[in-house]
């Protein structure tokens, strides 16, 4: 089976300063990968580089053995929640329906079957009763679930989520994790940018610890070791020690 994702030696810089350097990564299908690391480690940058939202200085990225262009319709991306204008005049149902747009192509409108499918995805995240609410009326956790429902509606094989658990309630977090694990069990691949280390072991099959460079990539048990973590979080720890926290 081809790799879901094969990243080779990519470097990205902003205004001459490098954000990530020489990252290598191969991910088999049917895994949940967590990308972790301290603030400013380049987690979101790596994700954006993979999705060609920013240009890379060097290196190569393969998705399912091909280019991003060839595999766009197999990818779903859930941006950070603060990316959105929550006052936008759109109902929950219509937001999920956007997930069917990529497969529709230009000029075509969602049909009845697309609407039924979007509603089904909304049911999966337990929000069918909110279908006709404006998206801003939902809680943070519910909003995140709406965008997961939209990703599900895309019928993708590879999912990218950027900080999906920031500022949401425990119930929503639990539900999202369960849905991601269901996807994995169906053979789909999930990549999550994450910054809370406490649950990393339970949530992810693979972890990539990043601090501009790749610090460690492997099973959670290999990555979540004190001597490995120290390498990535050294600067933050030094600050804590200086502040007298021991």
């Amino acid at each position: 089976m081809t790799h879901a994702l094969a990243v080779e030696n990519i470097t990205v810089s902003y205004h001459g300063r490098s954000a990530i350097e020489a990252i290598d990564l191969t991910l088999e299908q049917g895994n949940i990968l967590g990308i972790i690391g301290p603030n400013g480690a380049g987690k979101s940058t790596l994700l954006k580089a993979i999705l060609n939202l920013i240009s890379i200085d060097s290196g190569s990225i393969k998705i399912f053995g091909g280019s991003l262009k060839e595999n766009r319709n197999r990818i779903a991306y859930v941006p950070q929640r603060n990316q959105y204008d929550w006052d936008f005049p759109i109902h929950v149902m219509d937001a999920v329906l956007i997930g069917t747009y990529p497969s529709l192509g230009i000029f075509k409108r969602p049909k009845k079957s697309d609407k039924a499918w979007a509603l089904e995805c909304l049911e999966k995240v337990g929000l069918a009763q909110y279908a006709n609410r404006q998206i801003g009326e939902l809680s943070g956790g519910q909003q995140q679930r709406v965008f997961l429902a939209r990703a599900l509606a895309q019928k993708a094989d590879l999912f990218f989520l950027d900080e999906p658990f920031v500022g949401i309630d425990m119930a929503s977090e639990g539900m999202i994790v369960k849905l991601l694990k269901d996807l994995r069990d169906e053979g789909k691949t999930v990549v999550v940018v994450h910054h809370d280390l406490s649950k990393a072991k339970e949530y992810f099959d693979e972890l990539l610890l990043l601090n501009k460079q790749l610090v460690q990539f492997g099973r959670p048990a290999e990555v979540l070791r004190p001597e490995v973590m120290r390498k990535a979080y050294e600067s933050e720890l030094a600050f804590l020690f200086e502040a007298g926290v021991n």
Partner: protein, 287 residues
């Protein structure tokens, strides 16, 4: 009423009414996307940037539509180029480019000594609408409304979530410039009715009013068009009856409708918000 009699009687008033209603409709429709993308200032910029194009068109003896669209889109591209290739922020770039284009237009009109009446271009003169202007407005209206209908899905997703749109392969930047081209055409269509200076009001005010009245983009587009059309009729009535500049009366009619919605909108109005927060307070007090 003298206004209604006038409409039945005078050909020029019929043309004025038809043209300004069409302008109200298309400005309202395209305006929804402008305000949701946070491009109100861009609307102002593009409308001013058509001036040099209009001047050159008159000098060359071609229809001002072509020159206007050319300089409008050119300015939009210059704005994008400067903000993307330097540390200058978008709103600053807009401020530099559109004033430059506008200033150029003022000089061109003076130098070319064209027969164009600068005052009419700036503030509109709907009662002097020629048949050719009316047909241009109609043609532009059809192009703009047709484009919104055909590309509704793409306009919605790039306005709401441009990142997702580019991940699934939509040409986000091209769609932006396409919208700028539509915006330029709408400005040209509005030249006679409200004039360059006040076009931005017709783009923004009816759309903003509709935004306060609904939570659905498709409804918002229809509402904004209706509000634009109603503003045009009310404005034209006052313009004709009291012999006032049509652009100004139409814009003030739109503003009046906005104020009504701002206070009385069922969900987002000032009054309703006051009442619902009072209700909550008494509920809490009764606990």
């Amino acid at each position: 009423m003298a206004f209604i009699e006038g409409i039945i009687q005078y050909d020029f008033l019929q043309k004025a009414l038809l043209t300004s209603v069409m302008v109200g409709i298309i400005c309202g429709a395209i305006g929804c996307f402008i305000i949701l993308r946070g491009m109100a200032l861009m609307g102002d910029a593009i409308s001013h940037a058509v001036l040099p194009g209009v001047a050159i068109s008159y000098a060359l003896g071609i229809n001002f539509f072509f020159g206007a669209v050319f300089t409008g889109v050119l300015t939009a591209m210059a704005i994008g180029f400067v903000s993307q290739n330097s540390r200058i922020k978008q709103d600053t770039s807009i401020g530099i480019m559109f004033t430059a284009a506008f200033a150029m237009g003022v000089i061109l009109i003076t130098v070319l000594e064209s027969s164009t009446d600068l005052y009419h271009i700036l503030f509109g003169n709907v009662l002097a609408v020629r048949p050719s202007d009316m047909w241009i407005t109609l043609a532009i209206g059809l192009v703009v409304l047709g484009s919104i209908y055909l590309f509704y899905k793409e306009l919605l997703v790039t306005s709401f979530d441009s990142v997702m749109a580019s991940v699934y392969g939509l040409p986000v930047r091209l769609i932006h410039y396409f919208l700028m081209a539509l915006l330029t055409m709408v400005t040209v269509a509005s030249l006679q009715t409200v004039g360059i200076v006040l076009v931005v009001a017709m783009l923004i005010t009816p759309a903003a009013t509709a935004y306060l009245l609904t939570d659905r983009l498709s409804t918002m587009v229809f509402l904004a068009s209706a509000i634009g059309a109603v503003s045009a009729v009310i404005g034209l009535y006052f313009s004709y009856t009291y012999n006032l500049a049509s652009g100004a009366t139409i814009v003030l009619a739109a503003t009046a409708l906005f104020i009504i919605a701002f206070v009385f909108s069922p969900k987002h109005g000032l009054l309703w918000k006051k009442i619902s927060s009072k209700k909550k307070q008494t509920e809490l007090a009764n606990l």
